[in-house]
Amino acid sequence: MSDFLLTQIINNGAPIIGAIVFISALGAPFPCTLILVAAGAFSRQGILPWHTTALIGLSSVVVGDSLSYAMGHYARGPIQRRFGQSEKWLKAEAFFNRWGGMSIFLTRFLITGIAVPVNLIAGTSSITFRRFFLYDLTGEAVWIFGYGGLGYLFGTQWEAVSEFLSNMSGLSLGLLILGAGLWLGVRRWQSIEEKKHDAREAQP
């Protein structure tokens, strides 16, 4: 698929990049890191105008993200009716309200594999669209200009950069899952220890 998309980009230019990142923001698994780094390299070679490409890419991905936020937002009613009173839901919502901004920002360019679920969760949470938009725009700007900039900097050697960044993103996701597992494990262990301690104190 990457080869097909790359051919379409060199034939049709920035609008294809806009379409790819837009559809990707709605959940389609396109190789966007590769596309962005390649777009930077093509700009360096004079195939694409960097400013128009960056503008179209940024606006398309932000519109796509906003749509997936809206999907979550409109599903908020039924979800709240079903889970709204549960203690776990309230805890999860409080957690997302505290860390949601950072999650939105980091998943735009560092842990891109979970960007769409984060958009949906942001929509169902009480994060306002304005706040979501601000973090989303900042994160996507880092993604577009950072990854595209690396492609521009390295020119025809962009494939090596893209390979490194794609694997780095997968590694970040793995570290996040491992960190979550360890954190839950430690919490569980602490809770067991507390219960044991309470039981010992309760004994006469």
């Binding site: 490194f164 590694l171 899952i177 597992g181 839950l184």
Partner: protein
């Protein structure tokens, strides 16, 4: 949630995390090593200089794209392949190979590389960044 379920979730997360970290860790290490062995990025002051490494040609590239990259006129490449420029400008090398030379896999890519090598403009001499002193003292 029952303690058994909790333990299962924690174990699954740690196990999955380790598998992903291991898999992408090895790939990231190899990618970083390959990345470091690449030549440094081209300087910005001569960005209009043509590319000279034909090993960078891929089968997703089109003839006009390669022509621009290596500063070789597109008709030269189409002539070398013996196919018409008209209607083939947006096809990539793989599509051209499948359409015109289906019996010889990779023919178009090889032929294009050869033609580019033969028709590339001579590389511009690069001036040294700092003036060098003559080794023999001038009388």
């Amino acid at each position: 949630m029952t303690p058994t379920k909790q333990r299962a979730i924690v174990s699954a997360l740690i196990g999955l995390g380790l598998v992903i970290v291991g898999f992408f860790g090895v790939r990231t290490f190899h990618a970083f090593r390959d990345f470091r062995t690449h030549r440094p990025p081209p300087p910005f002051d001569n960005k209009q200089q043509p590319e000279t490494d034909v090993d960078l040609i891929r089968d997703w590239m089109t003839i006009p794209f390669i022509a621009k990259m290596y500063h070789v006129p597109p008709p030269v490449l189409f002539d070398a392949l013996g196919i018409s420029l008209k209607g083939n400008q947006e096809k990539n090398l793989k599509q051209l190979n499948d359409e015109y030379f289906p019996e010889t896999s990779g023919y178009v890519e090889t032929k294009v590389k050869e033609t580019v090598l033969q028709n590339m403009p001579p590389a511009m001499p690069t001036l040294p960044s700092t003036p060098t002193m003559p080794s023999v003292p001038v009388p």
